[in-house]
């Protein structure tokens, strides 16, 4: 069980960091609907959690897609002259079109204990979703690399696994205070998991070495590089 400094259990949300609510879900992932004003915080690859308001499990996921839909009114506005600021503000603040984020489930927590695996049940519609940026929670969730297995097994689906791994590792590296040891061991885990998938491993390592230039060892970890 992980209890953070402020007394909250792993999986408990604070309300400050809410980025939207669950639109639909399955065991392997969930879609989050957000308002435009909530779009500042989340980014591709970030760790989020669907936090039920009752005693159900909190479900962790990585954001792998953000989707902004159109509608006939937006299409008309695009065709007309340059939209005015007030019209842009109206579209973004007043109209009820959510921004949709797709997440890949990578774990869950029960009574504060974090488990890297698929949850017994998905979150429900309208469960609030929070972004995980607190150092303690990030350290607790990413302490062991087991959740990366769930990312790698999504290869071949619509999840851009290589880009997702790179974005996630880069973000967590920074959130952990440029934790070199964590980055190197996590990349080693990625290599082990992708050893049989050379076509996915090589671009992932190349992008990682570009994304983490202060870690020259990344290139050396590559197969024969």
């Amino acid at each position: 069980m992980v209890t953070f400094e402020d007394g909250t259990l792993a999986g408990a949300g604070t309300g400050r960091d809410e980025i939207g609510r669950v639109l639909r879900a399955s065991t392997t992932g969930f879609a989050v609907g957000s308002r435009v004003q909530q779009l500042d915080a989340p980014s591709f690859g970030c760790l989020v959690k669907a936090q039920p308001i009752d005693q159900r499990e909190a479900i962790y996921g990585l954001v792998y897609d953000m989707h902004i839909d159109d509608d006939p009114l937006v299409r008309r506005l695009i065709l007309a002259e340059n939209p005015r600021q007030s019209v842009i503000e109206d579209q973004r603040n007043n109209r009820l079109i959510p921004i949709e984020m797709s997440t890949l489930t990578v774990g869950y927590s029960v009574n504060g204990a974090i488990i890297h695996g698929l949850p017994p049940r998905p979150p429900l519609n309208l469960d609030p979703v929070h972004i995980c940026t607190g150092r303690e929670e990030i350290v607790a969730f990413t302490g062991e690399p087991g959740y990366l297995r769930l990312v790698v097994r999504a290869a071949g689906t619509q999840v851009p696994v290589d880009q997702l791994l790179v974005a996630h590792i880069r973000q967590v590296y920074e959130l952990r205070g440029n934790d070199d040891a964590w980055a190197l061991s996590t990349i080693q885990e990625v290599i082990d998991l992708l050893r049989s998938d050379y076509e996915l491993l090589m671009p992932t390592l190349e992008t990682l070495s570009e994304a983490l230039p202060l870690l020259p060892e990344v290139a050396d970890l590559g197969l024969g590089r």
Partner: protein, 407 residues
């Protein structure tokens, strides 16, 4: 079964041919009317005399024409859009309704009004709100409640203008102009009412709202897309009233030439986006009734080219107290066109008010679940009729089979 389009091919061809022939005839009539318009552009005495005679010699119930508001702008004037004020408040309201359904689990009706306030010139997001009202047979006979469907429509119309004007009233102390825009004619006349009293009540309420708008210095306007009025044409035809063998019957609304409207005439005149026509006063027994209630309520109108292709013509209705002040007309003209420019050919605020007001299928389902939950709490379970449940099943996700497609 779905619609078998191949069985309609011949009829569709016939329809297109008929439309073409009608167009040819209309063009001929239109040319004549345009010539009359140009020839009498400032013939104020002749127009006044002709209209006076026409009003005396025709059935007042069916004589619907237009009178020039002033004798300053010629009949064929084309006014370019003036620049809008630096700042203004443009408010729009629209309504929708759920009519009572005899086959549904519970009897109820809903009126929902959508309102949007657009802060012109301030670059900020508009504010918006909806005002839903639920009605149900509170001890009333169910058949009587179901029969009130037409009354729900009348009440929605009244709620639209009352809600709009109430909102505009809150801006009455603003320094800059306030325009309140309705998505329908201002010369409202209740139709389809099963109860005369209700129709009269709605009409009185409508006229009172117009007076309140004036008291609040709010420039009320009605915006009509594809207007069907032919009042200006009737005025032009009236100019021949002293000709021998003139057929008075053709001045009456019931014998109108199909397809020809004022809009077809002004489409030839208002060539550039934003241009407006002369301001006219509606001549009809309806407007006389409005004037008798309050002279400032008499409804006037001008035609507007709102932009977009192919060229369209809209009508903007304004009350007399707005129409007789050229500065107020200028504000309405400029701001309505300014709104049209946002989307190309229709006021943005009216689109948004409609979007806010409309009650979609999902909203309706959610409301019915809400009502069912509340009813069940008191052991009042309702059931839909077999007809309703059959329709629901048959319509759910019905699509035409289009063969197997590769995904």
């Amino acid at each position: 079964m779905t619609l078998e389009l191949e069985k309609l091919t011949g009829k569709v061809e016939e329809m297109a041919q008929g439309a073409y022939q009608q167009q040819q005839q209309q063009d001929k009539v239109l040319e004549g009317l345009l010539e009359k318009l140009y020839a009498n552009r400032v013939a104020w005495d002749k127009i006044r005399e002709a209209m006076k005679t026409a009003e005396q010699e025709t059935d007042p119930k069916w004589y619907r024409a237009a009178r020039p508001l002033d004798e300053v702008e010629p009949l064929d004037v084309v006014v370019d859009p003036p620049p809008p004020p630096d700042e203004a408040t443009v408010i729009a309201g629209d309504g929708s309704q759920i009519l009572p359904n005899r086959h549904a689990a519970y009897l109820y009706s809903v009126i929902n009004i959508g309102l949007i306030v657009y802060y012109h010139g301030r670059g900020q997001a508009p504010s918006q709100e909806t005002r839903p009202v639920l009605d149900y047979p509170n001890g009333e006979d169910e058949d009587t409640f179901v029969d009130k469907g037409a009354i729900v429509n009348l009440r929605r119309d009244l709620a639209e203008i009352e809600t709009l004007v109430d909102k505009a009233w809150t801006f009455r102390r603003e320094e800059h102009p306030v325009v309140a825009l309705l998505d329908q004619r201002l010369l409202y006349w209740p139709v389809g009412s099963s109860g005369e009293d209700e129709g009269q009540r709605v009409l009185r309420g409508w006229q009172e709202a117009m007076i309140k708008a004036k008291d609040g210095r709010c420039l009320l306007a009605g915006y009509i897309v594809r207007p069907g009025k032919r009042s200006v044409m009737t005025m032009l035809q009236s100019l021949d009233i002293n000709e021998p063998d003139f057929d008075l019957g053709k001045l009456e609304e019931r014998s109108r030439t199909p397809g020809l409207t004022d809009a077809t005439l002004f489409r030839r005149l208002l060539l550039a986006p934003g241009q407006r026509s002369k301001v006219f006063v509606d001549v009809s027994h309806h407007n006389r009734e409005f004037r008798s209630r309050d002279a400032d309520n008499e409804v006037c109108f001008f035609y507007l080219n709102p932009g977009g292709r192919p060229r369209k013509i809209a009508r903007v209705d304004i009350p007399m107290w707005v129409a007789r002040d050229p500065e107020r007309v200028k504000v309405v003209h400029s701001l309505v066109y300014n709104q049209c420019q946002i989307m190309g050919d229709y006021p943005y605020v009216l689109s948004r008010a409609d979007e806010l007001a409309v009650v979609g299928g999902q909203d309706r389902e959610s409301l019915e679940v809400m009502i069912a939950n509340a009813m069940e709490k008191y052991g009042m379970a309702g059931t839909v009729t077999a007809k309703e449940s059959g329709k629901t099943v048959a319509r759910a996700g019905r699509t035409r089979h289009e063969g197997l497609r590769r995904r």
